[in-house]
Point group: C2
Chain length 342, copies 2
DNA sequence: CGCATTTACGAAACCGGTTTCCATGAAGTT
DNA sequence: AACTTCATGGAAACCGGTTTCGTAAATGCG
């Protein structure tokens, strides 16, 4: 049904090998035959079949996409889907298509990402980190397959990662609150064992120390980045006075959960308690009051991940991880003291 | 590096053809050799290389994923990403992986989805409809490649689609408002030429007629489903009194835009104007007041799309399009009159 | 003009599977 | 015992490309 390279060769009066060389810019082909063949290709709209080419070259121009967490990270994730959109755009420009591995138990080889990468001969992988990284991810990262992770600070022979400078996230928040004359700061962090939570905690503790603010352990809890956990953490914080004057939640979703708890408790944001989230997802703008948050530059993260992966694929080893600066986005949930004075 | 079928054959002391027959359950192989070979496969973890198999069989077990709109529909879309998550789960269970076509100009063959489907030999395609469907999509739908669309009511030899019963969306809204004793109803619809907008308009007009409610054309506008357009439409509606008592926006995002305009105008929701959105995206719960909306059953849409596509691939022709019932989700932006009376 | 070198292209092996067709031998039949 | 039938498994062509290698023609040079 479809045209093969032999058809093209016959039409142009040359051998298949010659056609192949022309398509792949090998050189060693005369200008006139080149033109002749290219004309035929043009007219017929011929394009080499993927599987044949892939079989012969052992390359695929495919990037494997892996949602590595056992739970809850998928298309709907408001942070990662932004990163992905940006990544997809750039990686497409670089000439790759994206293969999404299914995660289902029913799939053969479900466990081993490495086996599936080899099976499809993907040129590289993007690994999106959820919580509770599966064993199979470590196996892949240790392999010779080029991989880039998002928010996943591991090491491997051809592995690197991008993430927001998480320590800076916390320090920006603390600095801002300090300048607003707020000292009583609570912190609802993400999953204890996740890379980003650990880094944010370090940043928090470090900058609290730096500004000479004492840390109240009763105001520090861990959630799982999702709304419900923010709600529960805030409930606990509000169980015993005194209350903090500000809460920093390590995700906007948890901030929304905290907001609910605060309002149920009859307190007002930001008059009684200031609230700062993290990520800057869409909903921040639609909530009332609009949520002040630390924006992660998701476009940049996706873009850097794409270029990093491309470099890794093209043989550049030992690419350093890339950290992206966060940005504080001031909205209504954390009114500056100055404004209140006016 | 990797094992081939020849290696397995050698190890088991049989021919490659025999191994292939065993893997693919051809029969005609004795029980003892079958066991012997399977043991070797088991031990080595051998798996046939994708491209070789695909080349030989002209199948790929791959589903092409196409975001068909020229603009603005991608991972971050709060409606489609839910559908996709559900679709991916089911289609994975059915044994497929998903190939995402890049949309970039830099990509060869960027225009023709059909060419790219043939190139990768995908077994079928899922087409997510944005606005302004590209020509290339029609070409694909007309082809022999099995395709399923979401919110894209076209016809083709092996094409079918899923969508919410859009007429019912409007009629449910009108009915609800009617029962709340509201007669002055405004309607901010989506893009004029999109399938869903046309159907929702039909449903709106039809049920307004049915309930004997007059339609005020000054209260009807078209947006593009995104927030800004809802804002602008509402501005126009509020430019000249009298104002409607309720607004139905054909997407939650436009409802949020309208909300902003209403509040800027000094009016209160729902006391002055009731507001009903459509889709039931996450932000509905986080907005204040929480947004009443018509929920589309995104999980079901994705699930049905997956099964529909699988049927089409397996040779079942002429699958009828599937319509999914919408559901009215009552929240605060549209307080029932009864409550107010109490 | 004759020889060495380079250029241009084709022949054929190869990538790793699938599938058709045929050979072999065991079992069944008369 | 001879012949047919059937179950089994191997040989080889094939899918559609790439790439090595060899050779004929074109070119350079003395």
């Amino acid at each position: 049904m479809n045209l093969t390279i032999k058809d093209i060769a016959k039409m142009a009066g040359v051998s298949p090998g010659t056609v192949s060389k022309i398509i792949n810019n090998y050189g060693g082909i005369g200008e006139s035959t080149k033109q002749k063949v290219q004309k035929v290709i043009e007219e017929t709209g011929y394009r080499p079949t993927f599987s044949a080419k892939s079989l012969a070259t052992k390359k695929s121009n495919l990037i494997g996409l892996i949602y590595a967490g056992k739970i809850n990270v998928d298309f709907t994730h408001p942070f990662f889907n932004k990163v992905m959109t940006s990544f997809k755009k750039i990686i497409g420009e670089l000439g790759y298509d994206i293969l999404m591995f299914s995660n289902e138990q029913f799939h053969q080889d479900q466990g081993s990402y490495l086996a599936r990468c080899r099976h499809f001969q993907v040129d590289g992988c993007l690994i999106i980190a959820g919580e509770e990284i599966e064993e199979a991810v470590y196996e892949l990262v240790q392999s010779e397959i080029p991989c880039v992770g998002v928010d996943l600070n591991l090491t491997g022979p051809r592995y690197s990662y991008v993430m927001t400078d998480n320590e800076k996230i916390s320090s920006k928040v603390v600095e801002h609150l300090y300048l607003q004359n707020i000292r009583d700061i609570g912190f609802i962090n993400g999953k204890k064992d996740s890379s980003v939570a650990i880094l944010r905690e370090q940043g928090f503790i470090e900058s609290m120390k730096q500004f000479g603010i004492p840390i109240n352990k009763d105001w520090i809890y861990h959630g799982d980045f999702f709304e419900q956990s923010g709600y529960q953490a805030m409930k606990k914080i509000l169980a015993n006075p005194p209350y903090p004057k500000a809460i920093f939640a390590a995700s906007d979703l948890m901030a929304f959960g905290a907001k609910k708890a605060i309002e149920e408790h009859g307190l007002t944001i930001p008059t009684d308690i200031s609230l700062i989230g993290c990520d800057d997802i869409e909903s921040c703008q639609y909530s009332t009051p609009q949520l002040t948050t630390v924006k992660q530059d998701k476009e940049k993260l996706g873009k850097l991940a794409a270029h990093l992966l491309n470099d890794l694929i093209n043989g550049e080893m030992e690419k350093k991880p890339l950290l992206v600066d966060p940005e504080l986005v001031l909205r209504e949930s954390c009114t500056p003291v100055r404004k209140q004075i006016l």
